[in-house]
Symmetry: C2
Subunit: 282 residues, 2 copies
């Protein structure tokens, strides 16, 4: 029974950190590339995706140990996408989490290469598992991380003008980008966690949907936190904050519905719902 | 029996093209991203890596059909690496194969994203196979395409100054870059082809070594063809052309040794040796 979710999050993310370190540092990688790869991995963010993966595995009857390797893979993939998103030709951000971005510290070439190598490392990490779930997990990760989702969402995000008036069309485009850039990887994380527990396909589908709704609510909360930044792809272009928070609440309600059948093993997932609800309330 | 290798290469690469088209074009990818991804895939180069993969599969007793999916994956991975290598922050090339490079035609952001999506597509393509070889193939591809090989080789290539005098140290560094940037993916292609034929691990090791030697000889031939370009990582910095060609010949001899046991099923691989020998003789 997870009484204190923030304790669960910090304890589990520490285990994720150990696994990330173990998999990232290899004497066979050129040192400058390795440093550029590690820069945004350590210290990391909240490790929401890998911890969600682990919590989904536990909900489906697995252990943290069953999921730790796949959790590291998802975090490597997420980190690569942040490094590339920050590049001068993309969002041109020079600071992330209070530190210089990878291209500011190591130059553009090493930032591109660090992202490329982290993507390969994600697939090496997840594909190298000998368990029967590895193959499905590679497919989940590649689908969520490819042109149909993460990369396509970023392409449409960049192409989005910031002068369009609020409209149903604009709302749909913003929702579509959030679905592909954020929710798809949350959904894949939960799905892969279910695979690590050798869950039934019905349970896996429920957990995947849980992850998607959680991701959409998280993105809305993030947009509200970033309300003072000038961003073209934010829900606040088509809704006021109150209405955005209502939508986040609706996604969290739908997420909760998906996991009613998991009983006490789903407590950590319920903690995620409360955690994201708090973010959206800020 | 492959009498005419150039016919084998052209017929097999046509089949590769059909598979690449089938896997690349999906209505779910944003159209501008899809066009950027396709730009360097069609028309492609000689398709040496995917055809090598198919020839290795045939040598080990498999059919072209057993290998076609994995062949497409290797070509997607190779193409992504070319797109990123051409970027302004890397080699800053504006022309490749007589056409504008992806960032010249579509802009830097889409070039980065097209490469990212092609890498994901490579793993989606190879990981989505239901055959038992898929998992090992994902590992081979991730290892050859990651920080220890392809990406690390490119990082060291970029870091290489062009003022060092010829020395054993410089020769070793150039050889190391070629081993990781070129030979590793040739070796992985042959290894994956062997996997597609469910080859013994002994046969797979032989084919992997064959691919590596072939790749090293190919790279030397390529350096000789590019003798007039100012490049920092070329064998011609530490050998004259005659000595470089001797080294290429030595690698081709070692490659031939690896496949003596394959009999008539190895004819296409022997065609590869003749083909690369011709390149190095130009």
């Amino acid at each position: 029974m997870v009484v204190d979710f923030s304790l669960y999050l910090s304890e589990t993310s520490e285990k994720v950190d150990v696994e990330l370190e173990r998999r990232l540092f290899s004497t066979e990688i050129p040192k400058d590339l390795e440093r550029a790869m590690a820069h945004l991995v350590f210290p990391g963010g909240k490790r929401l995706r890998p911890v969600l993966l682990i919590a989904a595995c536990e909900a489906a009857g697995g252990t943290q140990g069953d999921a730790i390797r796949a959790a590291a893979a998802v975090e490597f993939l997420h980190t690569y996408s942040l490094i590339h998103d920050d590049l001068p030709c993309m969002d041109n951000d020079s600071v992330r989490r209070g530190r210089p971005t990878v291209h500011i510290k190591f130059g553009e070439a090493l930032a591109v290469l660090a992202g490329d190598a982290l993507q390969a490392l994600a697939f090496e990490t997840i594909g190298g598992a000998t368990e029967s779930w590895a193959q499905g997990a590679v497919s989940d990760l590649a689908l969520a991380g490819g042109g149909r989702n993460l990369v396509g969402g970023q392409a449409d995000d960049l192409a989005m003008g910031d002068s369009d008036a609020p409209s149903a069309g604009l709302a749909g485009r913003i929702q579509s980008v959030h679905g592909r850039k954020t929710a798809a990887l949350f959904g894949a994380s939960a799905s892969i966690g279910a695979r690590c527990a050798l869950a039934s396909s019905q349970d896996r589908t429920r957990l995947e949907r849980f992850g998607r709704h959680l991701g959409l609510a998280f993105q809305i909360g993030d947009d509200c936190l970033d309300r003072d930044k000038k961003e073209s792809c934010t829900i606040l272009r088509v809704r006021d904050e109150r209405s955005a928070r209502q939508l986040a609440g609706e996604h969290l309600r739908l997420a909760a519905e998906e996991i009613t059948g998991f009983g006490s093993s789903g407590e950590a997932l319920r903690g995620f719902i409360r955690f994201v609800a708090e973010i959206s309330a800020k």
